[in-house]
């Protein structure tokens, strides 16, 4: 009975992620700007994020998010999370509940066969306010760690809500490429390590941008990521800015007694 419960409990969570319906940003596990990474939160580890994107003209809403790893298997991992975006003004009115959901399934490298890339399929921007935060983006990513270079990642996305994916000229651009790179850990004095990161999300729409920066890990579970983001459609961005600076605080909290890595 307990063995059955051990299988049923994660399966119920996976089903809950699958049935969640699919302009604003959302943060599942990301590299810098976009979810262009196959990384999935480890089982029992909650990731908290506080993201800001600002320029001298305007800023994106502050993003307060949480994502947790929910499957205790190596061959199929999953994460689920949400973001609260404040202030929540859309037009003349504030969004009453500025929450967007995200979810992702995937597996790390080399679990099925030697040389197998990491993979992930997911959704983000799952909001409930029609006309404002209902982007409903599906995406998939592959990633491979290269010696001395770091992890290279590539994938694609498709936004289900046509109205949220228009260029400044009004053309519909619902899809694009995702690509990213994260460096190997770099030793640095006074801190745990430094990691460089870059990614791009193509498309003449509100999400089209490229950005990169440096992630300073003060401890293995607390990091500050900072750098610029350059937008492809500046007319669609806050204040018509062509770029923003980003500061992102990331914290991992491990709920499990033995490090959240109780994977076989």
């Amino acid at each position: 009975m307990r063995a059955l419960a051990l299988k049923v409990l994660p399966a119920l969570v996976l089903a809950a992620i699958a049935v969640v319906p699919v302009g604003v940003r959302a943060t599942p596990s990301t590299i810098f700007w976009a979810p262009s990474t196959p990384a999935v939160q480890a089982f029992g580890v909650m990731h908290l994020t506080y993201d800001t994107y600002f320029s001298d003209r305007a800023a994106y809403p502050i993003d307060l998010g949480a994502t947790v790893g929910v499957l205790p298997w190596m061959g199929l991992q999953a994460e689920a999370g949400f973001d609260l975006l404040y202030p929540s003004v859309a037009g003349a009115e504030a969004i009453e509940l500025p929450i967007v959901l995200n979810g992702k399934v995937g597996a790390p490298e080399d679990v099925y066969f030697r040389g197998q890339p990491a993979w992930a399929l997911g959704a983000f921007g799952v909001g409930f306010e029609s006309g404002s935060n209902d982007q409903h983006v599906l995406y998939g990513v592959l990633g491979k760690t290269l010696p001395h270079i770091g992890m290279a990642q590539v994938g694609a996305y498709y936004g289900l809500t046509e109205e949220r994916f228009r260029s400044a000229a009004g053309q519909v651009n619902q899809s694009g490429l995702l690509a990213g790179w994260s460096s190997p850990a770099i030793d640095a004095p006074l801190v745990d390590k430094i990691v460089l990161a870059w990614d791009v999300q193509t498309g003449d729409n509100v999400l089209g941008a490229t950005g990169g920066g440096v992630s300073v890990y003060f401890t293995p579970t607390i990091a500050l990521l900072t750098g610029p983001v350059f937008f492809f459609e500046e007319e669609l961005q806050p204040g018509g800015s062509s770029w923003s600076w980003s500061v992102q605080l990331d914290v991992d909290i491990d709920f499990s007694p033995d490090g959240g890595r109780r994977l076989p």
Binding site: R2, A3, A5, L6, L9, P10, V13, F43, G44, M46, L64, A66, V68, V70, P72, G81, F82, L84, Y86, S88, A94, E96, L97, I99, F255, S256, P257, R262
Partner: protein
Amino acid sequence: MMDIAFILIPLVFFLVSWLYVKAYDKLSERS
């Protein structure tokens, strides 16, 4: 409304996640 959402949503998410992991731990220990 903002105050309620801002406090309750993270709190409930945190508690549900914690309870889920603890429940799995308990079941794992007993089986």
